[in-house]
């Protein structure tokens, strides 16, 4: 049962364009995340928000910027995409606390031509 919703499912764009991805969770969680899954299936955290506050900001290029309007929504904007940004972007949510399970959305597959 999907409770973390991501849009769009796919996005194809050209180098230099701006893209935005949306994520919404209906689980009542207070923490949301963006993970990047590359072509080799490596999963790396990019950002984490707790109650709209940025708490984890890994070393990602400045062209990536997360935005959170409330604890149920977390968006990701890429200002000027590069070929290496081609990947699946997975949104996830959980309750606060290291022991808690992450629930992932279906992902947004980005292809940069």
């Amino acid at each position: 049962e999907t409770a973390v919703f991501q849009t769009p499912n796919y996005h194809v764009t050209q180098v230099g364009n701006e893209v935005s991805f949306n994520c919404k969770q209906t689980l009542g969680h207070d923490t949301m995340y963006w993970y990047k899954q590359d072509s080799k299936k490596l999963l790396k955290i990019m950002f984490s928000y707790n109650n709209k506050q940025l708490i984890v900001n890994e070393t990602v290029p400045r062209r990536f910027s997360p935005q959170s309007s409330d604890k149920a929504h977390l968006n990701l904007r890429i200002k000027s995409v590069e070929p290496e940004d081609s990947a699946v972007y997975l949104c996830a949510s959980s309750f606060t606390g290291s022991q808690n399970t992450l629930y992932f959305g279906a992902g947004t597959r980005l292809s940069v031509l």
Partner: protein, 114 residues
């Protein structure tokens, strides 16, 4: 920083044989949380099982794992592989307090054939 090592990129098995996927970790935290997530084809990762307690076996859906802090290991096992077990398995580590920041291993693809 924290790291998780999954030594096998691909494990191929015949249905009915036992499964063991290796996971070791490095962390400065004395009480880390360890997780196994599974990702089936065209799906997103979902939790398979997790553990925080040293030397205690954790089971779910026929799989089991035991956290051994002495050897920094959390290997995933199953007594008899099924075709439906074919998937990508991630071992992951979280620190012992505060906000959840999972560090994932590179993943192991398990392919079970008839």
């Amino acid at each position: 920083g924290d790291s998780v090592t999954q030594t096998e990129g691909l494990v191929t098995l015949t249905e009915g044989l036992p499964v063991m996927l290796n996971c070791t970790y490095q962390t400065i935290y004395s009480n880390p949380f360890l997780f196994w997530y599974v990702q089936h084809l065209n799906e997103s990762p979902r939790l398979l099982l997790k553990s925080f307690t040293d030397n205690k076996r954790t089971e779910h859906q026929g799989f089991h794992a035991t956290l051994h802090k002495s050897s920094s290991s959390f290997h995933l096992q199953k007594s008899s592989a099924q075709l439906s077990d074919s998937a990508l398995y991630y071992c992951a580590l979280s620190k012992d307090s505060g906000y959840n920041k999972l560090t994932f291993g590179k993943g192991t693809v398990l392919l079970v054939s008839p």
